[in-house]
Every structure is written in C-alpha cells, then in structure tokens.
Amino acid sequence: MIVLLPLAGLALGFIVIYLADITVPGDIASYLSLAALAGLDAVIGGIRAGLEDKFKADIFVSGFLVNALLAALLAYIGEQIGVELFLAAVVVLGGRIFVNLSLIRRYWLTRIALAKKES
C-alpha cells in the first residue's frame, strides 16, 4: 500500500526525535508548535493536491517552509506588539487542515464507491 508511506514517514520521524529526547528552550516552544501546525497543513494540502492530480513539488516544498516561517514570524510580531497574532495562524491553518481532510475523505469515498461498481 503505497499510500501509507506518508504515515510511515510521519511515524518514523516522530519516533526518532521522541526517543532522542530533543527539546527546545521554552521561549521558542510556541513557535515550534506553530511550525509543526504549518507543516501539518502543508502535508495534508499536499496529499489533497496529489489525490486531485494537481500536485506540484515546488509549491508543496515552498509552502511547507514559507508557511512555517511566516506563522512563526507572525506570532513573534504579535508577541512584540502585545496582540495574540498566533491565534490567526492557528485558526487559518487549523481551518485549512479540516477542509483538506474532508476533501481527502470525500475523494477516497468516491474512489471506493467506484471500485465497488466496477467489480
């Protein structure tokens, strides 16, 4: 099942760092969490694009990096001027993750239905 590869990669990366017991200083902990959220958004967006045959490597990779950095930067600026701007990133990214997940779900359901009809 080639489609399970991303999940396996996720688990592998997670386990490696988790067992290596790597932590970051408390000051930038919230930025790291935000970057992780941006990464989650990019990966799920990538899967959706792939399923829709619209996948473009450059958009995917740059989206991952730039979104993570932008989200962290936004949060940093917010902290400087006393506005909780990181909430904006959390809401937008979180919302997009939900939308993309539901599209992926639809896609798979359609596909399974099609496969059943053919057999």
Binding site: L5, F14, I17, A36
Partner: protein, 259 residues
C-alpha cells in the same frame, strides 16, 4: 483498487513522505518540549507570559512592602534609642523591651544547635509502589516541616527557623498550591530547619527509635535520601520580619485589677 498506480501519478507520494518525516520530527520536538515545560511548571506555555507578568507585579509590590517594614523597624529602633538616652528608669524600660523582643523572636539570635535539611527524594520508586503513595511519600510536605519543628521545640530548641523564616508564636507552616509557606512567605524545596538548642539532645531526639526519622516513610530508604541532620556551632537565625499587627486580640494587664 485500481492496480497500476503508475510512477507519474505516485511520485508525489514520495515527496509527501519526506516532508511527513520532517513534520513528524517537528511534532515530536514540540510535544517533548511541551511535556518538559508542563512538568517543570504545571502551566501550558500559552499562559506563561501573562502569569509571568503577574508574578513580576506581585514581586515589585512585595519588595516595596518589605522596604516599608525595614523602614518602620528602623524608626522604632530610633525611638527606642532616644528613650534609652534618658534616665535610668527609661533605660530599664528599654532593657525590658529588648528582652521582650528577643522572646518574641523579633531580634536575630545566635547559638549552637542543629541543622536539618529536608529535600524531595531523588530515588526512583520501586515498580510495585502504590501509585497514589508516590506523590505522598517522595516529596516533602508541610506536615513534615511541622513535625520536625514541633519535635525540635519539644526537645529544648529555643529558636527555630525554616529557610530563614523565624518560627514565632504566630507562625503557620502550610501548603498553598505547590509551595509551602512559612510566615506566609513561600519557601522553596530543599528545606533547611535551623534550631538553636542543645545539639546532642536535639539530634538524638530526632534519631531515636520510633522518632520522627525512624518513622519517616513506608519506604525506609527515603529517610536516608531525604533527611540530613547536622550539628552546628554558632548558628545565626534572622529576626521575624512579618507583620506584628494584632487586630482582634487585646492585652490583658495582670497588674491592673478588674473593675
């Protein structure tokens, strides 16, 4: 399903996989960090900055009040000195006052005695140790401090302090949230009880069979790990620095006959 997932169509899966690997790393690092932060402070990071500001404000206010106390005490001392420079009668009065202050713990004190150090356990609980007892047994509680202070006082300690907070007649030792307060001042873990009194008597009173150390915890390794008793010469104890205000209690003067 449709079997020929050809390379052109499945190329993206590999790229997604690679970034998933990175994402997994990010998630793990974030999770680990939050876990350690939560363990050390018990507060999620998103709330830390606000709470830190509160702590700072309170600290400022605290130091202001502390300064006020020292100023007021200095003023009192000044008045007393002025009093003492008068006649022999006022001088006697001053001596009497000094004695009363010493009794009340309002002056620093020094002398021989012992020092008891209590710290949270560094031992790993054994696997079969009841989980609800770990929290109870492996850290120092306000009851422990109370027990030790009480035992010292019962055996001839004349002046006692916990982490430089002098124990006086109004002293309370109790737990507020995760910290212990003595005289309403939070004291951090590694608690040092200093007591002026007969060093040998005090030490053996603590170490006697069925005494407070002998009966310390169910896990007998803990007493050795968490308690340290040392005899000390020339200990210095600070004066009580809290409020001496009495709101509800009035003095009953025994020499004045009731009307």
């Amino acid at each position: 399903m449709n079997a020929p997932l050809d390379l052109k169509r499945s190329g993206w899966i590999w790229q997604v996989t690679i970034l998933s690997l990175v994402l997994g790393m990010l998630l793990a690092a974030a999770l680990k960090t939050q876990q350690t932060l939560k363990r050390s402070s018990g507060i999620p990071t998103t709330r830390v900055s606000g709470l830190a500001q509160l702590v700072l404000d309170e600290k400022d206010r605290n130091s202001l009040l502390r300064k006020e106390i020292t100023d007021l005490r200095a003023k009192v001392d000044e008045y007393e000195r002025a009093l003492g420079e008068g006649t022999t009668q006022t001088e006697l009065l001053r001596d009497e006052l000094q004695k009363a202050k010493f009794l009340a713990g309002l002056t620093p004190a020094k002398g021989d005695g012992i020092e008891v150090t209590l710290r949270d356990s560094t031992l790993e609980p054994p696997a079969d140790y009841p989980a609800d007892l770990v929290m109870d047994d492996y850290i120092i509680h306000d009851q422990d401090l109370l027990l030790f202070v009480n035992e010292l006082l019962a055996n001839g300690a004349e002046a006692v302090a916990v982490n430089d907070q002098r124990v006086i007649s109004k002293t309370a030792i109790r737990c507020v949230g995760a910290t212990i307060r003595v005289n309403d001042v939070p004291v951090g873990p590694v608690y040092t009880i200093t007591a002026i009194g007969p060093p040998d008597v005090l030490e053996s009173a603590l170490k006697i069979r069925h005494g407070v150390i002998d009966q310390f915890r169910y896990d007998k390794r803990l007493a050795k790990n968490m308690i340290q008793v040392k005899k000390k010469t020339n200990l210095g104890l600070p004066a009580y620095s809290g409020s001496t205000l009495f709101k509800y209690t009035a003095v009953v003067d025994p020499e004045r006959k009731p009307k």
